[in-house]
């Protein structure tokens, strides 16, 4: 029995009077690929923002690999090995692709706030950045400012920036949203490759992607998790079909 | 003592209301357009100078109406032909535009009216002691100032709560992003608010210029204080601006009369340390001399410990 990668206990979140997350309990096992699905407005992104420290919780407890991270700030959580991507592409638009990746590598390669190293001279850092560029197949676009990339490329870069720090828990927020069929396929294989031997939690609307990638699925409806189960069981769960899949296919 | 308290109260009320006439316009402009207008106090100065010039020709009373209107029109023109074209370059450019404008207005004022103060005087008709309280005269002009500023306060309140444009402005105050979706003529409203805010500042200049001194540096003196007011009050909150105006007016007015330093205080407890250097300076500072720094100290502490300000709903 290993510790769960992420554990949420009785987590609530309200904005003003409206309660967005309503007593969520969730355990994500180490090494699994876990998908969170649910209708629009169910609070999936809010859940991600709580886990990654973007919002403070109203009440409840969040643990990362057995240590409490409730209401730590984002950078502290990131340093403990949790990294995330955003639903709306969130990179450094004025920097080149290569610079984006290199910046994302700086903290974990130990250079931190250094103002006595020159990035260009750091061999290990630049090699790592090259490797990662290769991994996300963007070596040829390295000099392009990230803001000028095509949409699918930006999404790939976003994944690159997210995994660069070598976090072992990765949160991806709708990584394939807005992509064409072929782009989605490529993204899925990229995600599969880069999250090998890591814990992945993802929010995703594309059901084929979810059933393709996920080991387990949690269904979030109106801020509550109504069930967590294997993909097959979720497919056959009548409550889920009512709440979510039914609507979607209708 | 009673006399000191009474007159300090009157003075701080006057100063506070003057500050509010400036800060209310600045607050409206900031909350509607997101622009921190560095030239706001310059419009105040222009009001004073215009009123002075007009009083040279036709006397004080026409100036009371014409000068603020002129300043308002000028403000509207600045918004229409200046700010609006800078808008596309982002907030920093907008802010710097107003900084440059403040700088330029000061230079132009010096160019037209000279470097020294102009003799802008209170009208003869109000130049008498209205009543004698506790042995000191209360001048009629001060009472007049108080009446005008309170009148303006009521007028502003009525416009904001009763008129259509006021309702739009109120909507903008509470939901800054939502106004453009309401389908109103947003650029027109902006121009009106900017012009109106400038006119208010101009009015403050008309009645404050002869109470204070009408000189080219008056904008640079008052401008930063007005920023302090809107930060302390909570950016975008009119109620906050009102409270903060009175508060700062009181702090500055009352501090002037307190001739006490830390070493006096220590002496009360029988302590008479004789340090040298910075500590000596520090102990010798009299409260009355801290007037210039108190507002800024107040603002910096406020921004650090309560960034929302007194009444603000959102962070600055």
């Amino acid at each position: 029995m290993s510790l769960p990668a992420v554990k949420l206990t009785d987590v609530y979140k309200s904005f003003g009077k409206s309660r967005i997350i309503n007593r969520v309990n969730l355990e994500i096992n180490t090494g699994e690929r876990h998908a969170v699905i649910g209708p629009n407005g169910a609070g999936k992104s809010t859940l991600f923002n709580l886990i990654s420290g973007f919002y403070p919780v109203s009440s409840g407890r969040i643990e990362l690999k057995g240590r409490e991270i409730t209401n730590l700030s984002s950078h502290q959580i990131n340093r403990r090995g949790l990294s995330r991507s955003f639903q709306v592409t969130n990179i450094f638009p004025k920097m080149s692709v290569f610079e984006n990746i290199r910046c994302a590598l700086l903290w974990t390669t130990g250079y931190r706030y250094s103002f006595w190293h020159l990035c260009g001279r750091l061999k290990r850092l630049n090699e790592k950045a090259e490797e990662l560029l290769e991994k996300i197949s963007m070596t040829e676009r390295r000099h392009v400012p990230a803001g000028l990339l095509a949409y699918a490329e930006q999404r790939a870069l976003e994944i690159g920036v997210t995994i660069a720090g070598d976090a072992d828990v990765i949160l991806l927020d709708e990584p394939t949203a807005g992509m064409s069929r072929s782009e989605t396929e490529r993204a899925v294989s990229l995600i599969r490759e880069v999250t090998e031997s890591k814990t992945l939690i993802m929010v995703e609307h594309d059901m084929s992607v979810v059933f393709d990638l996920a080991d387990r699925i949690s269904v979030l409806v109106y801020g509550e998790i109504i069930t967590t189960d294997s993909p097959d069981n979720i497919r056959n769960n009548t409550r889920v079909q009512e709440a979510y899949l039914g609507k979607e296919s209708a | 003592m009673l006399e000191y308290i009474f007159f300090s109260t009157i003075n701080s009320l006057l100063y506070g209301m003057l500050l509010f006439m400036l800060s209310s316009g600045l607050t409206l402009i900031f909350s509607m357009m997101g622009i921190l207008n560095f030239a706001h106090a310059s419009f105040f100065m222009l009001g004073a100078y215009f009123a002075y010039q007009i009083s040279q020709f036709v006397g004080f009373w026409p100036g009371l109406v014409i000068a603020p209107l002129l300043v308002g029109v000028l403000g509207a023109l600045v918004e229409r032909y200046g700010l609006r074209s800078v808008h596309k370059h982002g907030h920093v450019a907008e802010l710097l535009f107003t900084v440059g404008l403040a700088y330029l207005i000061e230079e132009i004022v010096m160019l037209i009216w000279g470097r020294n103060a102009v003799p802008y005087q209170i009208p003869n008709i109000l130049d008498f002691a209205l009543v004698n309280i506790l042995g000191t005269d209360l001048s009629a002009y001060r009472v007049f100032m108080l009446v005008v500023s309170i009148g303006m306060f009521i007028f502003l309140f009525l416009v904001l709560t009763r008129s259509r444009i006021g309702l739009i402005i109120q909507a903008a105050l509470t939901h800054p992003d939502g106004v453009s979706t309401l389908g109103h003529n947003v650029p027109g409203v902006f121009m009106l608010v900017f012009g109106g805010g400038s006119a208010l500042a101009g009015l403050a200049g008309v009645i404050g210029g002869n109470y204070l001194i009408t000189e080219p540096s008056m904008a640079a003196h008052l401008g930063p204080i007005v920023f302090v007011v809107i930060v302390v009050g909570g950016m975008g909150s009119l109620t906050g601006a009102f409270i903060a105006s009175l508060l700062l007016g009181a702090i500055q007015t009352f501090a002037v009369g307190v001739q006490v330093s830390l070493s006096d205080l220590l002496a009360l407890f029988g302590l008479t340390p004789e340090p040298s250097g910075l500590l000596k300076d520090f102990l010798r500072i009299q409260i009355s001399h801290t007037g210039p720094i108190l507002p800024y100290l107040f603002m910096v502490l406020m921004l650090i410990f309560r960034p929302k300000g007194l009444m603000g709903k959102r962070e600055t």
Partner: protein, 424 residues
């Protein structure tokens, strides 16, 4: 063989600019021999350091400060106090290293103020910086033992021993001392942009949220960047102290704070070398225009507002806009339209200058009825004729310039079209 040549050229193009700059700095005083121009060169050197340090905030970290002179002034005061301590024989520090006292003093203050003010960027930071600036400026008169009250603190640099054995009496020796520090500071500030902190300052400027999800605390990145900017501002202030041998409370005030903001912005915040151009131009303008006309502050204000409205990327931005055109060898297509625009611009400029000068003469000169002279022509400011010419020039210049600008836009359109075709 050919490959080697290419590499040699590469080395030159990489370091050539620095070497050329160094050479220019060394030979400049041989061309400018008067005391006035040499002291101006010294002032420019100080202004360059100050403006570049300001751009570490505004350009690189997106922090608009209205109180950067706090560190310039405090750096000056720290240096002059240390200078006096050295003069009194309490400690021994060579004169050449004294500006470091300003730098290190400023860095400590910078860490404190930086931490207090950079939790959030944008408007809150701008306001806190204004507050801190006013706070220090207003309190300078309350602490006379540090700020020296009205008359400031003065010192005598000749009483301090020099490491190099040079007697720092003449302006030229001080010029070379300033040039040395300026060159060193420019190189260091440039290298800082290439360090992890420098890159992260950009990252935090553009997207603080993302920066915190790659492990960085934006607040701490800004604080460090702020403290380093304070360091170089302190060096500039230290050089000021050594140069003038007196520091007054005005150096911490709003005027130098506004000044450095304007020179940096006019030079251009988006490119490293922008503030250098701004510092050279603005310092030159301030010193030489102030000799020529009393109305120079108006010209300065007009220039600043004009830049904000029409060229928010500054002089450096305008230059770099032409880089791709230059590379595509298309400059010859732009130059004719530029040449056409020069003429009406000159007319407008002339008209504006006349307008300002005549008004100035009328309202601020000792005797407005005395004849004034402008461009070698004598006339009476009261007569209508010069006013008529002025208005005529302004109107004609403005009208023609509108048409010329249309032409410039047109040729830019053509150039862009050609470049687009070539790239695709």
């Amino acid at each position: 063989m050919k490959k080697k040549d290419k590499k040699g050229f590469f080395m030159w193009s990489k370091h050539g600019l620095w070497i050329a700059a160094m050479l220019i700095v060394i030979i400049l005083p041989f061309f400018f021999r008067s005391g006035f121009s040499r002291s101006m060169l010294s002032q420019i050197g100080i202004a360059i350091i100050f403006a570049l340090s300001y751009n570490m905030l505004l350009g690189q970290a997106g922090l608009l400060s209205f109180g950067h002179a706090v560190f310039y002034g405090l750096g000056g005061f720290f240096t002059i106090h240390i200078l006096n301590t050295v003069s009194n024989g309490v400690i021994t520090i060579p004169l050449e290293l004294l500006p470091l006292a300003g730098g290190f003093g400023a860095v400590i203050v910078g860490l404190v103020f930086g931490w207090l003010s950079t939790e959030r960027a944008g408007t809150p930071f701008a306001l806190i910086s204004l507050g801190i600036g006013e706070l220090i400026a207003a309190s300078s008169l309350m602490f006379p033992s540090f700020f020296g009250g009205e008359q400031g603190i003065s010192g005598d640099r000749m009483t301090v021993f020099a490491l190099t054995g040079i007697r720092f009496g003449k302006q030229i020796t001080i010029y070379y001392l300033i040039a040395f520090w300026a060159f060193l500071s420019i190189v260091l500030m440039y290298l800082l942009t290439q360090t992890p902190l420098g890159r992260l300052a950009n990252a935090v400027r553009d997207n603080p949220e993302r920066a915190s999800f790659i492990g960085y605390n934006p607040h701490w990145v800004r604080t460090l960047q702020y403290a380093l900017a304070a360091f170089f501002a302190g060096i500039a202030g230290g050089l000021f102290a050594v140069n003038y041998e007196i520091v007054t409370a005005e150096t911490v005030g709003f005027i130098p704070s506004g000044n450095v903001l304007m020179m940096t912005y006019i030079g251009g915040v988006g490119h490293f070398f922008g503030p250098i151009l701004g510092a050279v131009l603005v310092t030159f303008m301030q010193l030489s225009l102030a000799n020529m006309t009393h109305a120079w502050l108006i010209y300065f204000g007009l220039l600043f507002i004009g830049m904000v409205i029409w060229a928010p990327s500054g002089i450096a931005g305008i230059i770099m806009l032409h880089e791709p055109v230059w590379k595509a060898k298309l400059m010859k297509r732009l130059i004719p339209s530029y040449a056409l625009a020069v003429f009406p611009a000159l007319i407008l400029f002339l008209g504006t200058v006349m307008f300002i000068e005549i008004s100035y003469h009328l309202s601020l000169s000792v005797d407005p009825t005395a004849p004034m002279h402008l461009f070698g022509i004598h006339f009476r400011a009261q007569s209508l004729f010069p006013w008529g010419i002025t208005v005529f020039l302004i109107l004609i210049g403005f009208g023609l310039l509108q048409r010329a600008i249309k032409r410039v836009r047109q040729s830019w359109g053509e150039v862009n079209l050609i470049m687009k075709k070539e790239s695709s």
